[in-house]
């Protein structure tokens, strides 16, 4: 197309349209972008436009400014305003937003529909009149330039979000964030935040780039729209001739676009080589009419869209359309780019995929946890001084309300962490469509695991404190329900609900493995509720590939039957080495036992996680050390359980 053909508006276009852009205002803005952050701060305080009109007023002003009314550059339909023209362009000449636009712009839907219907009526009669197109393009860009300036001033979020989706294709200020850049000019984002010590200079070219792109895009879009329009006509012609070739079809094709006379040139307009036989035969590009040779680099067959049917876009490039026409490489490129745009728009219209949804869920939970965690840590610190030593705790009066609050926050946090874990695991386990996708999924998982490892730590601070608290609260051997406990009971179902099915299973398996009635009651009574212990386990088991987990835990008495047998043996051995231990444990008060049981379980889960990690990293020494600790822990646990 660029090889000098007279009816290509593209080249003429880019030169004519770029002219109005670099006006004095742009120069000034460009200068502003040069300065580093510190220097631009004062300037960016004054946006380029004096007022901040809304979109509506901008539209009005474009209409009322008295220029020639806007014509569609393709079919010549008159449009009352730039926005309407954009909609028209989208609907009539660029199908992509027909399916995707609805999702993005709520505001302009009706007006667009009207414009679209309107143009469809006239489309058949419209002729490609070159002069008309040129004039329309110029008028269109004068309007666009103004609108851009106006849009720049509208800093209200409502303004930018209500801008019709179509404007994204033709006006550079269409993006919500792009519009922001526009008036910010070279303002460095860093100026918005407190200055950091090691802050280097930077320079932003985004605004300049977008201006250049907009200038280029308008030409490219027109090219694309025109090519598409001709393809539609070709498709109709082919349908009328029933797929059979012949003079009639050729005549129809020539009506759509004038063919370059054979005598015009002796060489291919693409590769400039002389025409000859076989591959080097003369062909006419059915889209632009130029003479090209048949070499694969110069021309190829292009599949036509289906001519009929409401959703012409859907059929536009579908596989079941059979009619094909010869097209030159330039036109193929143009059509390819249009297809690419359509694909992207469609993908966007489909909305977030499974991964994105899960990811958003996990991030939301992380944000929640990040918000709550500082408060929780502060609370734990406030409670902690009161629980130095059992004696002090028994004598003092721990602030029940504080503990209750801490417990409530703790359950919130556990819930949030559970959601992070569940979502990231589902991402990791989901079907990967490509090796790259698999890598990303694994990376997301490990990032979340990293996050959990870092943040779940302070959760474990609370059980210890609560145990001291409960010492003061319980005068008799029975466990009373305190408000925080009730609260916890109420939140338990939610906690469980947040877990995915297999996690619940893990949690219940955990409860089963403990197996004694005493521990059942424990799950109800002790402050850090069993579900959360189970949750902690499931959270930590993320590190454990199932196989390793079985190996690590199997030897260490989690399994209901075989495990307990091993544990028994270990207990005997431990008792043999330290006969005083059992009596010491027997001497403890019930609630003390319950509390320490709780602490131990919590720790056990963590050690399990560490072991799996050590084994995965092949740090076998560490794993052995840890395994020994785990055994110790199990002995301690079983001893207490036996004495309950």
């Amino acid at each position: 197309m660029h090889s000098g053909s007279a009816n290509s508006p593209a080249s003429a276009n880019s030169t004519t349209t770029s002219a109005p852009h670099p006006g004095p205002r742009h120069v000034r803005r460009a200068a502003r972008t040069l300065g580093p952050a510190r220097h631009t701060r004062s300037q960016s305080a004054t946006p380029p436009t004096d007022s901040s009109p809304t979109i509506q007023s901008v539209r009005r002003s474009t209409v009322s400014s008295g220029d020639a009314p806007l014509h569609c550059p393709i079919c010549g339909v008159m449009a009352p305003s730039l926005a309407a023209l954009n909609m028209h362009l989208d609907d009539a000449h660029f199908g992509g937003s027909g399916s995707s636009g609805g999702g993005r712009s709520g505001g302009g839907g009706e007006g667009r529909a009207g414009g679209g219907a309107d143009s469809r009526g006239q489309r058949g009669a419209a002729q490609d009149d070159l002069e008309d197109v040129k004039g329309a393009i110029l008028g269109f860009f004068r309007g666009a330039g103004r609108a851009v300036k106006g849009l720049g001033g509208s800093s209200s979020p409502a303004g930018s979000s209500s801008s019709p989706a179509g404007s994204e294709h033709v006006s550079p200020a269409g993006h919500a964030d792009g519009a922001e850049d526009w008036w910010q000019g070279g303002r460095n984002r860093a100026t918005a935040r407190p200055p950091r010590p090691a802050e280097g200079a930077s320079r932003r070219h985004t605004a300049h780039f977008e201006r250049l792109r907009a200038a280029h895009m308008s030409g490219a879009l027109l090219e694309g729209n025109r090519a598409e329009k001709r393809l539609e006509k070709l498709a109709r012609a082919h349908a009328q001739h029933g797929g059979a070739g012949g003079a009639g079809l050729q005549a129809a094709e020539k009506l759509i676009v004038a063919w370059q006379p054979d005598a015009d040139t002796a060489q291919c307009m693409q590769c400039q080589r002389a025409f000859g036989r076989l591959l080097a035969r003369r062909h006419h590009c059915r889209v632009c009419g130029q003479l090209v040779c048949g070499r694969a680099s110069c021309s190829a067959m292009l599949r036509l869209p289906l001519p009929l049917g409401g959703d012409h876009l859907a059929g536009a490039f579908s596989a079941d359309s059979t009619a094909e026409v010869r097209a030159c490489a330039s036109c193929l490129g143009i059509v390819g780019r249009v297809q690419e745009r359509v694909r992207r728009l469609r993908a966007r219209a489909e909305g977030p995929g499974e991964v994105q949804r899960l990811y958003a869920e996990a991030r939301e939970a992380m944000r929640m946890a990040d918000r709550v965690l500082p408060a929780f840590n502060a609370l734990v610190l406030r409670i902690a001084p009161q629980s130095h030593g059992v004696a002090a705790a028994a004598a003092g009066s721990p602030d029940v309300a504080l503990v209750a609050r801490a417990a409530r926050i703790r359950s919130q946090l556990t819930d949030a962490f559970g959601r992070v874990d569940g979502a990231s695991r589902r991402i990791a386990e989901g079907p990967a469509v490509s090796p790259g996708d698999a890598r990303v999924r694994a990376a997301i998982r490990s990032a979340m695991v990293q996050y959990l490892q870092l943040h779940m730590f302070s959760l474990t601070m609370l059980p210890r404190i609560e145990r001291k608290g409960s010492v003061g609260r319980n005068s008799k051997g029975t466990v009373m329900m305190s408000p925080p406990q009730q609260q916890l009971l109420q939140t338990q179902p939610e906690t469980d609900a947040a877990l995915v099915a297999d996690e619940v299973e893990t949690a219940s398996a955990d409860t089963r493995s403990i197996g004694t009635p005493a521990s059942e009651s424990l799950s109800v009574s002790s402050e850090p509720p069993m579900p959360s212990a189970g949750l902690a386990r499931s959270l930590l088991s993320y590190i454990v590939p199932r196989r390793v987990s079985a190996a690590a835990t199997g030897g260490a008495s989690t399994g209901p039957a075989a495990g307990s047998h091993v544990a028994e043996e270990l207990i005997q051995r431990a008792l043999a080495s330290d006969p005083g231990k059992e009596t010491r444990i027997a001497g403890m008060a019930l609630d003390e036992k319950l509390a320490s049981l709780d602490v131990l379980r919590d720790q056990r889960q963590r050690v399990l996680g560490y072991i799996a990690e050590a084994q995965r990293d092949r740090r076998l020494e560490d794993a052995r050390t840890l395994q020994a600790s785990l055994t110790d822990l199990d002995v301690e646990l079983s001893l207490i359980e036996r004495n309950l």
Partner: protein, 569 residues
């Protein structure tokens, strides 16, 4: 004035300015620049789940990821980016360039972004390699950017890269310096002029001055001190660099037999590794002590882990475990590294070699040195390259001495079966940095005055025979900071533009409240970085901060190979 922090600031902006699932695309140079100062887990924590090369053609399409690119504005990177924009594999694109973009590049990008996927284009000036807070380099290697065109003149590619890198460093520090250059070096002058041109041309960018501290950029030439890169270094960091080799903060140990898989490639970073931070400037002897203590600490910690009696023990264990775990990996790493170093040192008899090197570098003992040197050349236990290195040092020091025996030594080398190419290196170095090329009397043996000073120095005694040498740059800087500017100061380091700024750089009482960046054309050494680190500590009270950099970081082998292509007789 911290090179690492300056680069980290940009990397943090690159990955944090855009939220959401991201892929980070880099080119070959930015990959190294980033990996020197950042870690995988940092990138992960900033939602960067994939890092790939922009020129990797087999990347998978993932529309749901945002794409953050950090590229040098080179033709090849731009071309790869254009290809990517024409058929975008990801969602939105946020593009950051490590240096000043040409107008035509922006135009080219705009014309090729027909899918309108680009959301951001910015310049973030992280265009140099930050090895430590005081040490940076431009990553020039003979294969990619040969330094010399012909004799003492710049290869255009190397000059362009160096100007870009230094310009980026200044922008990242937000400084516009007063440039001085070594008077006898055409390369230093050329670099200074080019840099000045860039700063004038982009005066908006370089206009910024953070605070009122003055910055001096001293451009010096390696040829005025060819001795430092030829000496064996004994600090941990330098040993690792010279004997094993550090490549962008990573050490490849896979050549070792029976190496454990997790330490086939280890990372060395001040940021992540406290033991390394503490011991990077320790010499080999102190390092042995340090690593022993380190292992003892670890052992006592492991011991305590084995003795877990009570819940409280257990709790303590679990709580310290993450730290313990990190420690255990680190212990293995450093023990392996130090073990390997000591193997290489003893295998190559480096202590003996180093003693002779130091003697040649520091003391005027012609007959003694010659005798030792002859004995060493005839002894087959020393590796040939060390013999050659010592003869080069001899040739440099006694170049104009009576009874110079260089040619005899060359014959001796040849008769001991050393390649002619290697023997020729002696002449190569003399051509590059012989007495006629140098401007200062680094050996202090040329006139009575400097000889006297040398003798005086000798009287002070030496603490460690292997680390007597102090680089010429360090002596020069110390004189400057103390206010002992010496009589040749102005002649040696003139201002690039004597009219524009006051020509002085301090006064008799020393320098206060100023920063100095020293840039060595022809490569900086670890010994010089050590000297700068020491000076930084010593002159902290004067509020003077120093930084040193070079076209590359040299050890003796790379230094010689860089010279060999150009100065071969």
């Amino acid at each position: 004035m911290d090179a690492i922090k300056a680069v980290q600031y940009y990397i943090n902006r690159i990955v944090s300015d855009t939220s959401g699932m991201k892929v980070l695309l880099l080119d070959n140079e930015t990959t190294s620049i980033i990996s020197l100062v950042s870690t995988q887990s940092f990138l992960l924590s900033k939602e960067t789940y994939l890092v790939d090369r922009i020129d990797n053609g087999s990347r998978d399409e993932m529309r749901h990821l945002k794409c953050v690119c950090f590229l040098r504005p080179t033709d090849s990177s731009i071309q790869a980016l254009l290809d990517e924009l024409r058929s975008p594999k990801y969602g939105d694109y946020y593009i950051y360039f490590s240096n000043i973009l040409k107008k035509s590049m922006i135009e080219l990008l705009a014309e090729n972004d027909e899918n309108e996927v680009v959301r951001e284009i910015q310049e973030f000036y992280a265009d140099y390699y930050a090895t430590t807070p005081f040490l940076f380099h431009m990553g020039l290697t003979p294969a990619v950017h040969p330094l010399f065109a012909e004799g003492h003149s710049w290869n255009p590619g190397a000059l362009a890269r160096t100007v870009q890198g230094l310009g980026a460093l200044l922008l990242s520090l937000k400084k516009r310096p007063n440039i001085r250059y070594e008077h006898n070096s055409a390369m230093a002058l050329k670099l200074g002029q080019e840099l000045e041109y860039i700063m004038d041309h982009e005066s908006n960018l370089f206009g910024a001055k953070a605070g009122d501290k003055k910055l001096h950029l001293l451009i010096v030439d390696r040829k005025n001190d060819p001795v430092t890169p030829l000496l064996t270094q004994w600090t941990y960091h330098a040993l690792l660099n010279d004997l094993i080799g550090i490549n962008n903060g990573r050490i490849d140990l896979s050549y070792m037999p029976d190496v454990r898989p997790e330490i086939k490639e280890v990372m060395i970073s001040q940021d992540q590794d406290t033991f390394f931070k503490q011991s990077q400037y320790l010499n080999f002897g102190d390092l042995g002590m340090s690593i022993k203590e380190f292992v003892d600490t670890y052992q006592s910690k492991t011991q305590s882990h084995h003795q877990i009696e009570s819940i409280s023990d257990m709790k303590r264990f679990v709580e310290t475990y993450p730290e313990f775990r990190k420690l255990s990996g680190n212990v293995t790493k450093h023990v392996t590294l130090v073990g390997e170093l000591s193997r290489i040192v003893s295998q190559n008899h480096l202590l003996e070699v180093s003693e002779l090197e130091q003697s040649l570098a520091c003391n005027e003992q012609h007959n003694n040195d010659l005798k030792t040197l002859r004995a060493m050349i005839s002894n087959s236990k020393f590796p040939p390259e060390n013999k050659v290195r010592c003869v080069i040092l001899y040739a440099l020091r006694y170049e104009r001495a009576q009874g110079n025996a260089t040619s005899e030594l060359k014959q001796l080398l040849a008769s001991n079966g050393i390649d002619a190419d290697q023997v020729a290196m002696i002449d190569v170095v003399l051509r590059y940095a012989g007495a006629s090329e140098r401007q200062s009397d680094i050996f202090q043996n040329e006139n009575l005055f400097s000889r006297g000073r040398n003798i005086f120095k000798g009287l002070q005694g030496v603490e460690n025979v292997y680390t007597q040498h102090s680089p010429a740059i360090a002596d020069m800087l110390e004189d400057l900071l103390r206010g002992r500017q010496g009589i040749h100061w102005q002649e040696r380091l003139p201002n690039l533009d004597p009219k524009a700024r006051p020509p002085t750089i301090g006064n008799e009482s020393g320098m206060f409240n100023q920063d100095i960046i020293v840039f060595v054309v022809g490569g900086v050494t670890m010994e010089e970085e050590l000297a700068v680190a020491k000076l930084n500590a010593k002159f902290e009270s004067q509020n003077v901060r120093l930084m040193i950099g070079g076209t590359s970081i040299h050890k003796s082998a790379t230094f010689l190979s860089e010279l060999s292509t150009t100065f071969f007789p």
